[in-house]
C-alpha cells in the first residue's frame, strides 16, 4: 500500500472550529427551496382523459426514459404538428403547456393510425392512438405487483415505524 498519500494532508482547521462552516455548507448543499415538482406528462394525460391507467412514457417516446429527442412517430407527432402550426410551445416539465394543442387535436378529431377512432378517444380507452398497443400493458413493480393492489403506503408507513422502534430498542440493548 502506498502510505505517502496519507501524509499529504494539509493544515486545515480542527473539526470543532470548522464545524460551523461545515454545517453551513451542508445546509447550503442539501437544504433547498421547496421543490416545485413538475407533474409528468403521462400522469397529466391520465387525469385529463380519465384513462384506465397512467400510460408509459413510450406513448410518446422511444423509451421510458423519455427525452426531447426521442419522440415516436405516433400520437405525439399529431400533437407536435398542431402545436407548431398554432404557435403553441410545449414546455419540458410543464404538462399544462400541452393543453392548447390537445384541444386542437380533439376539435380536429385527429386520428393518427386512421383506425376510425380519434386520438383522444383512444387515449380515453387506454389504446395507442398511433398503433395497436394497449397503453396499460406496462411493467408493474414490486414483489407480486402483477396481482396485488396498486399501493399500500399505510402498511409501509407502519413497517417503517416498527423498524425504527426496533432499531432504537436494539441500540439501547447494546449500551
Amino acid at each position: 500500500m502506498n502510505s505517502e498519500l496519507t501524509s499529504r494532508a494539509l493544515s486545515f482547521p480542527r473539526p470543532r472550529k470548522a464545524l460551523p462552516f461545515v454545517v453551513a455548507l451542508a445546509l447550503g448543499v442539501s437544504v433547498a427551496l421547496p421543490a416545485r415538482a413538475s407533474e409528468p406528462f403521462p400522469a397529466y394525460l391520465a387525469e385529463k382523459y380519465e384513462m384506465p391507467c397512467v400510460p408509459a412514457c413510450t406513448l410518446c417516446h422511444l423509451t421510458n426514459e423519455g427525452g426531447a429527442l426521442s419522440f415516436r412517430d405516433g400520437f405525439v407527432a399529431d400533437l407536435l404538428q398542431v402545436a407548431n402550426a398554432s404557435g403553441n410551445t410545449i414546455e419540458a416539465g410543464n404538462p399544462e403547456s400541452m393543453a392548447p394543442a390537445l384541444a386542437l387535436v380533439e376539435s380536429m378529431a385527429m386520428d393518427k393510425d386512421m383506425d376510425k377512432v380519434t386520438d383522444i378517444d383512444e387515449l380515453k380507452a387506454g389504446t395507442d392512438p398511433g398503433g395497436s398497443a394497449l397503453l396499460c400493458d406496462v411493467p408493474k413493480y414490486g414483489c407480486g405487483a402483477s396481482s396485488v393492489a396498486p399501493s399500500y403506503p399505510t402498511r409501509f408507513g407502519a413497517l417503517a415505524l416498527a423498524a425504527s422502534v426496533m432499531l432504537m430498542l436494539g441500540l439501547r440493548r447494546r449500551r
Partner: protein, 406 residues
C-alpha cells in the same frame, strides 16, 4: 380478481422477504453505498478486502471502514496515523465483530436544471451482511419515492405502489459461500451485475445505457467471483428481476467482467452482457435481445491522479449498433478532497422500427457529455459532492449531494 387469489399468487419468498429482511437489517443493520474505483491509486486493485461484495460497493468490511478513515477522509491537520480512529466504527462508536457488517446511507440531493431548483432524498438505505464461517447472507432495505415512469428505484421495489408514493426497496439480498480461502465466492440472490467499472455515478450514461448501475439495475441470479492479487472477475447467470412483473419483462442471460493487473497500479479488463426479454421494460418492444461488450482500464498516474476508462459496443435486436463509454480523471488535491472530470460518449443506435427517423445526438449519432465534479470526504461519516453536468442537446444540470452514512 379477488383479494384471496391475489394473496395466493404473491410469491411466498416475496412475502417473507418483505417482513423478515427489514427486521433483520434494522436489528443488526446499515454502510455506505459507494465503490471508489480510483482507490487503485493506493494499490487497491481488488474490492473484496474493503467491501462485502467481492466486486465492490455497499457494505464495508471492518478493514474497509479503517481504510475509509485512514485514506479517504480529510485529516484536518492531524498527522499520519497507522491506526484508524474509533469514529470509523458503525454509527461512529459501535465496534462490530468481523462476522457482522452493518451500514446505512442517506443521501440528500439538490438539482438545478432549467432554472428550477429541486431538493429530494436520493437515497435512504440500510445494509448488512452476516457471516457464519464460510457462509454469509446480506442485503439492503430502503425507501424511495419517484415519479411514474421514472427509470430509477422502480426496479428495486418490494412494495407495490405504482404511483408517486414512498415504496420500500431492496437493491441487494443474497446468500453466499466463500471457497478456497475466499479466492472464489458464490452468491445467489439479487446482485449488482458484474460489468464494467463499478462507479458510484448511477446516472452516468455508461451505467444507465448498459443497465448496470447499482441504483436499481440489479438482477436475481447466481454469480461466481474470483479474486487474487493479479486478477479478479465475476460471472453471473441472470435469472431475471423478480421485483418486476409480469414475467415477460424479465431479462435473462449472462453478465461478466474479468480484470488483470497489468502493472502495480494499472488494471485492464473485459466485460460482456447479453440478455433476452419477451418484452423490453423500457421500449416495450417485443423479443428484445440486448448486449454490451467492451473493455476498461483503471490506472494511477503518479500518486494523486487516477484515470478510469471504459468503452462498450451496444447490440440490440430492435436498434442498430451503438456504443457507450466514459473517461474519468480523479485528482486528489489533498486527502479527502477530490476534483473529477468526466467525458461521456453515447450512441444508442437508431430504432429499426423507425427507419425514417432522423439521427439525433444519442440516437444514431454521437452524444457527448461532460462532468466537472468535486467530492469532499469531510469526516468518516460525512461527505459532500457537487457535479456540473452538461450534455449535448440537454439542459445544464448542477447536482449536489450531502451523504451521511452509518
Amino acid at each position: 380478481m379477488t383479494n384471496g387469489s391475489s394473496r395466493r399468487s404473491v410469491p411466498t419468498f416475496c412475502r417473507i422477504f418483505a417482513w423478515v429482511i427489514p427486521l433483520i437489517l434494522v436489528l443488526f443493520a446499515p454502510s455506505r453505498a459507494d465503490a471508489y474505483t480510483w482507490m487503485i491509486r493506493h494499490s487497491y486493485t481488488g474490492c473484496g478486502i474493503c467491501h462485502a461484495d467481492p466486486s465492490g460497493g455497499e457494505v464495508l468490511t471492518a478493514y474497509g471502514r479503517a481504510q475509509s478513515d485512514l485514506l479517504l477522509s480529510m485529516k484536518w491537520g492531524k498527522g499520519e496515523s497507522a491506526e484508524p480512529s474509533s469514529a470509523s466504527n458503525f454509527l461512529g462508536f459501535v465496534d462490530l465483530p468481523p462476522e457482522v457488517m452493518l451500514g446505512g446511507s442517506t443521501r440528500l440531493a439538490t438539482t438545478v436544471k432549467d432554472g428550477e431548483l429541486r431538493a429530494f432524498p436520493m437515497q435512504m438505505d440500510l445494509y448488512g451482511q452476516f457471516r457464519f464461517g464460510d457462509f454469509f447472507m446480506g442485503g439492503n432495505a430502503g425507501a424511495a419515492r419517484v415519479a411514474v415512469g421514472s427509470p430509477h428505484a422502480r426496479a428495486a421495489q418490494v412494495t407495490t405502489g405504482q404511483g408517486k408514493e414512498f415504496n420500500m426497496i431492496s437493491r441487494n439480498h443474497y446468500l453466499g459461500l466463500d471457497l478456497a480461502e475466499g479466492s472464489y465466492t458464490v452468491r445467489a440472490g439479487r446482485l449488482n451485475l458484474p460489468f464494467g467499472i463499478r462507479i458510484p455515478e448511477h446516472t452516468a450514461r455508461v451505467r444507465e445505457v448498459t443497465r448496470t448501475d447499482r441504483e436499481s439495475d440489479q438482477q436475481h441470479g447466481l454469480a461466481l467471483a474470483y479474486n487474487s492479487e493479479t486478477a479478479r472477475g465475476e460471472i453471473m447467470a441472470i435469472a431475471g428481476n423478480y421485483q418486476i412483473n409480469p414475467d415477460k419483462y424479465r431479462e435473462r442471460g449472462y453478465s461478466f467482467f474479468f480484470e488483470l493487473m497489468a502493472l502495480d497500479r494499472t488494471a485492464i479488463g473485459l466485460s460482456s452482457l447479453y440478455t433476452y426479454a419477451k418484452t423490453d421494460r423500457s421500449s416495450l418492444e417485443d423479443n428484445v435481445a440486448r448486449g454490451a461488450h467492451g473493455g476498461f482500464l483503471r490506472t494511477a498516474i503518479g500518486d494523486p491522479f487516477a484515470l478510469l476508462l471504459e468503452m462498450n459496443l451496444l447490440t440490440n435486436s430492435t436498434t442498430k449498433l451503438g456504443y457507450v463509454g466514459f473517461m474519468q480523471g480523479d485528482y486528489e488535491i489533498v486527502q479527502g478532497l477530490h476534483a473529477l472530470a468526466t467525458l461521456e460518449l453515447v450512441n444508442q443506435g437508431l430504432p429499426k422500427s423507425q427507419p425514417d427517423l432522423a439521427p439525433s445526438p444519442g440516437l444514431g449519432e454521437l452524444q457527448a457529455g461532460g462532468w466537472l465534479s468535486a467530492a469532499w470526504f469531510l469526516f468518516p461519516h460525512l461527505d459532500v459532492r457537487i457535479d456540473a453536468i452538461i450534455r449535448q442537446e440537454e439542459p445544464f444540470m448542477l447536482l449536489s449531494q450531502l451523504h451521511v452514512y452509518l
